[in-house]
Every structure is written in structure tokens, then in C-alpha cells.
């Protein structure tokens, strides 16, 4: 008989100690911000179950007692993944590769050519000292203690992260690949990413999160990530977030992008991995004619639990946002999607669209979808739509009757379901994304 029992109050009383070594890292201004984040975390209560955004996910499961975790090596699988990306770099398919091993070690490959153009791709710990003018005005501006308790936890305890700066008029057309690898069981990591794309510049980033514990019995691993992106006037940003962590990992991520006048951003969310995965993606359209498009694909199986929130915040008029979020679930997987369209009173003639479609492959899965509209003026065009339904047995039967094995037939139907989203992705990114999708589909 196993007496080892996890209660959901295991870590809920955790406080960051005054002498936590992370609080002493970086220059004085950063230490002060870390301390403020620590104070905010320690003084704020855990979000109450049932409240907005926490209705379907237990916040206790993201509480990490820093004192109880161990620094562990990355998983053996990582070497293979790194080799693949290094080969892509050699073949000229990437403009650079950055590896982030649990925030303890940041390695950069092939970024010398970018540096010649003044494009900075560096560790955040180096940037806070060397490029203070470029970092201090932006770090913590979009994801901070005011965002929530777990954002404060990251703000206090992040060890190292990645900083990308693209100066005015420069272009990074081929993807810059960021490979973040979590440690094994009982590890905790706090990845942080800051991107600043100056006026009229272009950047494509693939932000991939992998690794984690392989056996629940040995212990989970935890990640609490923060992503801040600033798109200055006329900039064009393409950001791909790929989540393929192991099935014994709890992961929390908050992403915010602020887009100035005429800026354009494409965000692609591929949520495939993790045991418990809570993500919060947001675009703040702060300048006229700014545009944000988000495409999300979530594939869940086993006991995976996904909780995704998106924010389309129109702070300026004549802005456009669009979200297409698709979810496929099988076994006992769960998904909750909450999407908020927020349009300020002065933000007139905006357009905002939101669509969430959920495909359930068997009984036992469950999906929730909650569209939210907070529109403070009447001169807008908005729409939202949501569907939840089982896979059509006639479609599977049709394919099976032509000799296609059942599992392959299901994959084909799922492939068709997500194809509409993939078709909207720019040509040069589509094949790369299709590889990510197909790799996950093989396990569906």
C-alpha cells in the first residue's frame, strides 16, 4: 500500500526567503526590481479556485518551493534535439540558435553575422549590465507582479534568460531558434525572454520549450516562464511558441506583446507537451494600424491538462486582431480556453475576431471554451465563435472502408482539421510547423 499522498496544499504557504541568492543577481536596479517582485509574491494570496482564469486549474500545482528542488542535468533527449537544430543552422535554415539549459547556461550559435548588423542576441544576465539602456525600460514592463502571483515568482527568481534586440531597419527573416531545456525530476526553472524590435525591423523567432521529468513517481519538474515582446512602429514580428515538454512537467507561461503604430505580429502557439500546461498569451495594440494574428494548436492525450488564455487588447483605434485556436483531445485529456477581446473607449473602428474549435476523439476528454468581450465603444467590428464536438464517425468510416487503418484514418481527419490553420501560416514557416505538428500527430 502506498502512503505517499500529494495534497494540494503541499506548497501553498511557500514564501521566497529574504536571502534567496537570485535576489542578489544583476545590477542594483535589477536587484531592487527582484526584491519588489519577491515582496509582491510573498504578500499576495494564492488565486482562489473558481475565480476568473483559475476555474479549471488548481493554482497550488504551480507553487514551487525553491528550497525543495534540486538543480538537475538536462535530459539525454536534449543532445539529439540540439544536433537537429545545429544541422538546420549549418544548412542555412536558421539565422541563429540559442540554447537555454534551465536558465543556468545560455549558449549561442551562429549569431556572429547578426551581431555585425547590430542585432543583439545575448543572455539576459549579460544584457542587464552591458545594454542597460536597451533593457531597463522594457524588462518587467509587460509581465510583472501586477500581472499575477506567479509572474511575481518569475520576476524574483529568474536565473538567466535571453535578450534579443533588432535595431531600426534591420531584418532577421530566417527563424532565430531558442531551445529551452528543462531539468529532470524535482527541478524548477524560470525562463525569461525579452525581445525589442525597433522601428521598421523584422524578426522571426521559434521559442521551443522541451525537457522535464520522465517519471511522475520520481517527481515532477516545474517551469514558470515569462515572455515580453515590444514591436516598435512599423515592425514585423513572427513568434512561434512550441511546448513539447515531458508528460511529468507542470508548466506556466505568460506572454505579452506590445505593438506600436503600424506594427504587425504573428503569434503561433503549439501546445503539445507537459502534464499541466497553463499559458496566457496577450497582444496589446497600442498604436494605430497595429495588427495581431494568433494561431493556436493544442494536442492533448493521456492525462494532459491545458489551460490557455488569450488577450486581444485594443488600446488604440484602427487596430486589428484575430485569433484562431484549435484543440484536439484524446484519452482523458482536458482543455480550457478563455479568450478576451478588450477594446478601450477611445479605440474606435477596431476589428477583432476570435475562433476556438475543439475536436474530441473519444469519451473521457473534456473541453471548455469561454469567449469574453469587453468592448467600451460601439464603433467596432467584432465576432467570436466556438465549437466543441466529437470526431465525425462517418469520416473515419469512409477512410476505413477504403483500407486505411483506423488510427491512420483518425490522424487524417485531425490533419484536415488543423490544415486550415496551417494554410494561414506564411509559406517559409509552414513546412517547419508541419514537421512539429506531424511529430505530435504520430503520438495521437
Amino acid at each position: 500500500m502506498d502512503n505517499d499522498m500529494n495534497t494540494d496544499n503541499a506548497n501553498s504557504e511557500y514564501k521566497i526567503p529574504d536571502m534567496a541568492p537570485e535576489l542578489m543577481r544583476g545590477p542594483q536596479w535589477l536587484q531592487e526590481k527582484r526584491t519588489l517582485a519577491r515582496d509582491a509574491f510573498n504578500s499576495s494570496p494564492l488565486p482562489r479556485r473558481g475565480l476568473h482564469l483559475w476555474r479549471y486549474t488548481d493554482p497550488n500545482r504551480f507553487m514551487v518551493d525553491r528550497a525543495s528542488v534540486v538543480d538537475s542535468a538536462y535530459t539525454e533527449d536534449y543532445d539529439a534535439v540540439e544536433k537537429v537544430e545545429l544541422r538546420h543552422l549549418e544548412q542555412g535554415r536558421l539565422s541563429g540558435l540559442v540554447t537555454d539549459l534551465g536558465g543556468r547556461e545560455i549558449n549561442r550559435y551562429g549569431v556572429e553575422k547578426l551581431a555585425e548588423q547590430g542585432i543583439l542576441v545575448t543572455s539576459l544576465s549579460e544584457a542587464v549590465g552591458k545594454y542597460k539602456v536597451l533593457v531597463e525600460p522594457y524588462l518587467y514592463r509587460l509581465v510583472n507582479s501586477a500581472t499575477g502571483k506567479f509572474e511575481a515568482l518569475n520576476g524574483a527568481l529568474w536565473n538567466d534568460g535571453i535578450f534579443i534586440y533588432v535595431p531600426r531597419g534591420k531584418s532577421v527573416a530566417k527563424p532565430l531558434h531558442l531551445l529551452r531545456e528543462a531539468g529532470r525530476e524535482n527541478s524548477a526553472q524560470f525562463p525569461r525572454l525579452l525581445i525589442v524590435v525597433d522601428q521598421g525591423s523584422e524578426l522571426t523567432v521559434i521559442d521551443e520549450y522541451g525537457g522535464g521529468s520522465h517519471k511522475m513517481e520520481k517527481g515532477l519538474s516545474y517551469a514558470n516562464s515569462a515572455v515580453e515582446i515590444f514591436g516598435m512602429a512599423g515592425s514585423r514580428i513572427r513568434y512561434v511558441n512550441l511546448q513539447r515538454q515531458t508528460s511529468a512537467m507542470n508548466s506556466y507561461l505568460t506572454h505579452r506583446a506590445m505593438l506600436e503604430r503600424d506594427a504587425n505580429m504573428l503569434t503561433i502557439i503549439l501546445a503539445f507537451g507537459g502534464l499541466l500546461n497553463k499559458q496566457n498569451f496577450g497582444a496589446i495594440l497600442s498604436g494605430q494600424n497595429a495588427e495581431s494574428n494568433m494561431f493556436g494548436l493544442t494536442f492533448g492525450s493521456g492525462h494532459q491538462h491545458f489551460d490557455c488564455h488569450t488577450l486581444q487588447h485594443h488600446a488604440a483605434g484602427q487596430t486589428l486582431s484575430n485569433i484562431d485556436h484549435k484543440v484536439v483531445l484524446r484519452d482523458k485529456a482536458r482543455s480550457a480556453y478563455t479568450g478576451l477581446i478588450k477594446i478601450e473607449k477611445n479605440a474606435r473602428t477596431c476589428e477583432a475576431y476570435q475562433e476556438n474549435r475543439n475536436l474530441l476523439l473519444n469519451k473521457g476528454t473534456r473541453a471548455e471554451t469561454i469567449p469574453e468581450l469587453e468592448i467600451l465603444n460601439e464603433d467596432v467590428r467584432c465576432s467570436h465563435g466556438a465549437t466543441i464536438g466529437p470526431i465525425d464517425p462517418m469520416e473515419v468510416f469512409y477512410l476505413s472502408s477504403r483500407g486505411i487503418p483506423y488510427d491512420d484514418a483518425v490522424r487524417m481527419v485531425v490533419g484536415g482539421f488543423v490544415e486550415k490553420t496551417l494554410k494561414q501560416v506564411p509559406d517559409d514557416l509552414r513546412e517547419r510547423l508541419r514537421q512539429f505538428v506531424n511529430t505530435r500527430l504520430e503520438k495521437i
Binding site: M5, N6, Y56
Partner: protein, 103 residues
């Protein structure tokens, strides 16, 4: 052979009270009513809200979101808007320890 796991002790949950626990992949709530203990999945079958944030009335648990009610002894619905039952777990008490059957 049925596997039981110890989740709590009798003194943890006063009569008329309930407490949540994590059981592998399931979040469960142990209810103490009329001197007996019952275990159900902590999720309303109507909109998946944590039903433990509601309240217990004798052998009924009431979801705080939309007022759905369930019989904690069987998981069956006793008041809408829920229509599907909630999964229950067999409970046994040995001395001070409360065990829940896993399979």
C-alpha cells in the same frame, strides 16, 4: 486485488466538512457527512468547476457556479443544470486513517 491509498485522517475533516486531495491524476474531495466519509471527483459535470468550492448539505454537494447538486454517496445528479453523474471512489476507514480505492 483492489488497491487502497491513505489520503487523510479522520481528524482532518470535521463532520459536515470536506477537503480536497490529489490522487495521481484526479483531484478528489473527501466529504464527511453523518459520521461517514465519501470521495468524489472534485469537478462539476456541468462546467468542470471545482465542486469543493461549494457547500455540503447532508448527503448533497452543491456546485457554487450554477447550483447543480449531486448525491455524494453515488455521484448521481439531484438537481440540474448538470445531467451527468460525477465519479465516486470507495472509501474505508481503519482506525484514524481514511483510505480511498484507486481502481
Amino acid at each position: 486485488m483492489a488497491e487502497y491509498r491513505k489520503v487523510a485522517t479522520v481528524s482532518d475533516i470535521p463532520d459536515g466538512g470536506m477537503k480536497t486531495y490529489r490522487l495521481d491524476h484526479d483531484q478528489i474531495v473527501i466529504c464527511h457527512s453523518g459520521g461517514r466519509f465519501y470521495a468524489i471527483v472534485d469537478e462539476c459535470s456541468h462546467d468542470a468547476a471545482p465542486i469543493s468550492t461549494g457547500h455540503l448539505r447532508d448527503h448533497e454537494i452543491v456546485c457554487p457556479r450554477h447550483g447543480a447538486r449531486f448525491d455524494i454517496t453515488s455521484g448521481t445528479v439531484t438537481a440540474p443544470p448538470a445531467v451527468a453523474p460525477i465519479d465516486t471512489f470507495e472509501v474505508k476507514v481503519e482506525g484514524e486513517d481514511i483510505f480511498v480505492r484507486l481502481d
